[in-house]
Amino acid sequence: MAKRPFHAVSALAGLAVPTRLGEGRGDPGVTIEERVGLGLATVAARKGQAEALKGAVASAYGVELPDGSRVAHGPSISFVGYGPGQWLAVSESLVNETLARDLGQRLRGLASISDQSGGRAVLRVSGPRARAVLAKGLPIDLHPRAFTPGSAATSTISLMGVQLWQVDDAPTYDLAIFRSVSASFWRWLTASAGEFGYEVVGRER
């Protein structure tokens, strides 16, 4: 077997390193953080099992599966609706592959589960200018009258697919992007945030 244990490399390793960049005057308009080690998995309801699945999720994870593109937070897992009968499960406690395994066991026969923990980078973009930055690529209205904590959307940013949901009124948004385009996405994000000044936070990697 392989001599030493595997060292995991996050999607934005070497890019999302703590620093303060862009327009230097005043406080940064946005802060950016890569959320690493999350458990991520897609959950797709089996034909005719939608209701049963809701029940099972409620009892197993204490959270009501959202209808439509919204996010619902449970004690251990958040479920982000991204399509009819489809959710992205996100967990801090059931890290990496363990989430998909857990879902697979508890929802057997009710849903098709696919591990995505390695396939996405999750970025947290927060701060007074977060909306202005995202508006440079996201064709969706994030105005508080249209999009609030709990709202979620699947769309594109600058030709790259994205799933995002609002976390709080700071405002803070979580963005799940595809791992393979992280570098391109990072170029867009930093170019767009430069005008307002931005700070990258998180642990040094």
Binding site: S69, Y82, G83, P84, A153, T154
Partner: protein, 89 residues
């Protein structure tokens, strides 16, 4: 153009991919007599200058296939539904 996806809500044109005529119905390929029906299905298209039912894929959104009823002269959209319920049924 903006299409109101039944799942995602109103979204910009660039999120969708077009397939075309949703009034066609797939014939039975085991029926040897279906030759003409197959030619119609694969090659012939309704192409009116007014309202038309057509398949759109919300490829940058929820990945739902939609049947959109749209005016080809004005681009006005009068109805959108999931393909599951869509025109071909």
């Amino acid at each position: 153009m903006r299409i109101r996806c039944p799942y995602c809500g109103e979204r910009a044109l660039e999120e969708f991919t077009y397939r075309g005529d949703a009034t066609v119905r797939r014939p039975d390929s085991l029926d040897p007599g279906a030759a003409q029906a197959w030619v119609d299905y694969v090659y012939l298209r309704d192409n009116p200058a007014g309202l038309h039912k057509e398949y759109w894929h919300h490829s940058a959104g929820c990945h739902a296939w939609l049947v959109v009823t749209r005016n080809m002269s004005t681009h006005e959209i009068v109805a959108v539904e999931f393909a599951e319920k869509g025109a071909s049924k």
